[in-house]
């Protein structure tokens, strides 16, 4: 149902907008409408064009938006022809009526004038989500992207050009908060935004409604494939959906964004006790570049569900689900698919000793070394090769390490972290050792700093 109304009000018949009045109005139709919807904020820029019939002299244009979520402070009107003959004198929000603005226009001409009306509204959102399907050998993945547009704005937008913006816009006030203010710019000595908006939380019912709509959108499935034109603007990416769409209030629409048949992927398994406890966590990594059959545009953030093809008939097995961050062109992404049990890393402290004690003449201990010998077993039980990263964090900056066995690539990550990277063939084990010496008290003086470019053990 349409709730936005625009009317040319004949000036002579209006007693006062504040009181009982008799209006004689003409209702110009909306010719075109464009929606630019942001994914990082509940924000949509609406641009609509209408043809007004102005008379010579003073005209009043009344715009009302009952039961919608329009921010009245964002209302703007621009004549698209004869701009030099049309003077928009002011925009007045009359007293004691809500959701109504009146443009006072002085026109030196009479006749039809195309105008563009823009405003910001809340309640239109979009989000991206992805489906990944790994091949049997898990070397490549079919990656399908989708966008879901949801309209809870209270207004039906018919035959609208829909544009989606990827990027993190900085806004001060929630548009929904501004839309609900009793006075568009508040009152003197009362902030109308910024501080006030922090306290505002979206209505739970509304949020629930959005969730329901989002979930319902899955059932809609693909409604005809449309091309999405992607282009960069400032720090944003703009996706323009081909043609026009009607998104009635309360409805969602799902559209395919892209479909890449074979993205080369690396299965990376990570072990880091401080972050993942005693679990091995699986990551799927690839880069948004040409080598990976991607790289034309950044990909917006969303969730990805990853499956694996398990047989020639294309039956699937669920592998995991992950958040998918915004990936610039050229950047690598790691999708955390959660802990696994089929790749094992088991560090064992094999020996502990202390040495090199320093004593003060009064007999107290002033320094010593601690030596720990660790054995690390790495096991790949899968039928495909895997790559494993083992990170070890030390609680001190004063350490030396000696490595042994099949430890793969070694890197000192920062002042208290090292990383071993191993590649294991299917169903194989590897074992490596390291001896960690830490220096304490006055023994720190015996420690020699690693050079800035050193990546190997001392």
């Amino acid at each position: 149902m349409k709730r936005i109304l625009i009317a040319i009000v004949l000036l002579g018949l209006v007693a006062s907008p504040a009181v009982a009045k008799v209006d004689l109005v003409t209702l110009p139709n909306r010719d075109t409408v464009q929606l630019t919807i942001y994914n990082s904020a509940d924000l949509t820029l609406v641009r609509e064009s209408r043809a007004l019939t102005l008379k010579h002299g003073a005209n009043r244009l009344q715009f009302s938006w009952a039961n919608t979520l329009i921010d009245p402070t964002s209302l703007e009107m621009l004549p698209k022809a004869n701009a030099d003959k049309i003077d928009i004198q002011d925009l007045t929000y009359p007293p004691r009526v809500t959701n109504l603005g009146v443009w006072n226009i002085s026109s030196e001409m009479s006749g039809k004038v195309p105008v563009e009306i823009t405003y910001l509204t809340s309640g239109l959102t979009w989000r991206a989500f992805y489906m990944g399907t790994l091949t049997n050998d898990e070397k490549t993945m079919r990656l399908q992207g989708y966008v879901v547009v949801t309209n809870t704005s209270g207004e039906d937008y018919e035959n609208a050009q829909v544009r989606l913006v990827v990027g993190k816009v900085h806004i001060l006030d929630q548009i929904a908060f501004l839309a609900r203010l009793p006075y568009p710019f508040g009152r003197p000595n009362q902030p109308y935004g910024i501080e006030g908006s922090i306290k505002v939380k979206r209505d739970c019912m509304l949020a629930k409604e959005v969730m329901t709509e989002c979930d319902a959108s899955y059932a809609l499935d693909e409604v005809g494939k449309k091309e999405i034109i992607k282009e960069g603007l400032s720090e944003y990416f703009l996706y323009t959906i081909e043609g026009s769409d009607t998104i009635a209030s309360g409805w969602s629409k799902r559209l395919p964004s892209f479909d890449v048949a074979a993205v080369p992927v690396v299965n990376l398994y990570k072990y880091e006790e401080e972050r993942y406890h005693q679990q091995v966590v699986r990551f799927l990594s690839f880069a948004n570049d040409v080598k990976h059959n991607l790289g034309e545009t950044p990909t917006p953030g969303g969730n990805i569900t990853v499956y694996r093809t398990v047989d020639p008939d294309g039956h699937l097995s669920y592998t995991g689900r992950s958040a998918f961050k915004y990936i610039p062109v050229g950047e690598e992404v790691e999708l955390n698919l959660g802990p696994v049990e089929n790749v094992l890393v088991e560090p064992t402290l094999m020996d502990f000793s202390t040495a090199n004690y320093l004593f003060h003449p009064n007999g107290t201990i002033r320094g010593w070394d601690e030596i720990r010998r660790h054995k690390v077993d790495v096991k790949n039980t899968r039928e495909i090769p895997v790559k494993i990263e083992v990170k070890r964090n030390f609680d001190t900056t004063y350490w030396d390490i000696e490595t042994g066995g099949d430890f793969g690539a070694f890197e000192a990550v920062d002042k208290d972290t090292v990383k071993f990277t191993l590649e294991l063939a299917p169903r194989t084990n590897k074992e490596f050792t390291y001896v960690l010496t830490t220096y304490h008290g006055n023994r720190i003086a015996a420690w020699k700093p690693r050079t800035a470019d050193s990546t190997g053990p001392n």
């Binding site: 820029l45 641009r47 910001l120 900085h170 610039p328 950047e331 003086a445």
Partner: protein
Amino acid sequence: MNARPAMALLAAVACLIGAGLAEARIKLVALPERAATIVRLDNARATLVEEERVLTLHKGLNKVDFSWNGVSIDVDSIRLRVLGHPNDVTLLNVSYPPNEAALVWEIHCKDAVEERVRISYLLSSIDRLIAYKGVADKDERNLALRSFIILRNFSGEDFDNAHVLVDYGEAFDRGILHEETKQLLFFKREAVPITKVWTFDASKLPWDPGDLENRNVGIPVSYRIKNDAASTLGEFALWGGKARVFQDDGHGSTIMLGEDVSPLVPVGEAMELYIGDSRDIVVTQRKMREQAINERKTTGGTTVLYDMDEVIAAKIENFKDTPAVLTMIQHIPGEWRMVDCNLKYTRKDASTLEFEITLPARDKNGPATVELNMHYVRLNLRGAPPNKH
């Protein structure tokens, strides 16, 4: 009709006013119309209203009653100025009737005369806001800047027509009713040069995006607008207000880039509007060394003073297909000395270093990468160093 308190000016002959000011007053009066009203909004804390009226005064003593029921006037701010015959018309005194928002001027007049007077007072709950709208061109070099003034009248008084003044720009005539808000275009400039600024502040943003489990770190992006003649501005200070910034999309439409609030910007200074975050520039910063050196000890062997030898390594990657200049802010607290730094910096204050790092666009091989390596020593730290058991 809506019954609402309003201001009234009542001119009356003394004998027609009731027995005493302290009691109920009966008034039979002429009601002089407002001749001109000026609303002056040049001070954000109070609005000054000046109104001119013509009083019909008779020879001798006149009493003029001014009341403002339901309107919030600073009573001590009310002034009356005689404009027509200042030598013949004399304001003798001002009386305040009890329990009323009113005052009575006693005016002596040499002859019967129609006299123009100006009454001024500070009125609450009527003010103005400033808002900006900017539309950047597609190349982000210039901004079409417009400034709006928003009048808000919740004073209880209707102003059918007022001459509205602010401290710069042209005055304008507008009526504004009680509880009405009015937005007017104040000034516009078609092509104000802008500089785009990316800023990484090491004290505010995460150092290693790899630790964030697949979440982005946004590098704040701002537009800088200089308030000077070269920018077609510079005539007056730009008042503080909310700014919404859009960009021409090259297809006859715009997208919204972001919004920010600017404080007052004096002539010669720059307005900086933070519009959003870039996720196409990635900074990975790590501390590679933190070593206590030059320890000074008591005779008992306890360390009481030491220096800390530190190495910071930062990798800055530009994934954009356009070049960018990143302002990187590093902080070294206390007393310190730089040992080696591979990039040039400006020391902004005792503990703040600012690097301006030019990043080329990405190429077919991947992102453009610049590395910062900073080796410094923090001096004369007291007590025992960390990690010392």
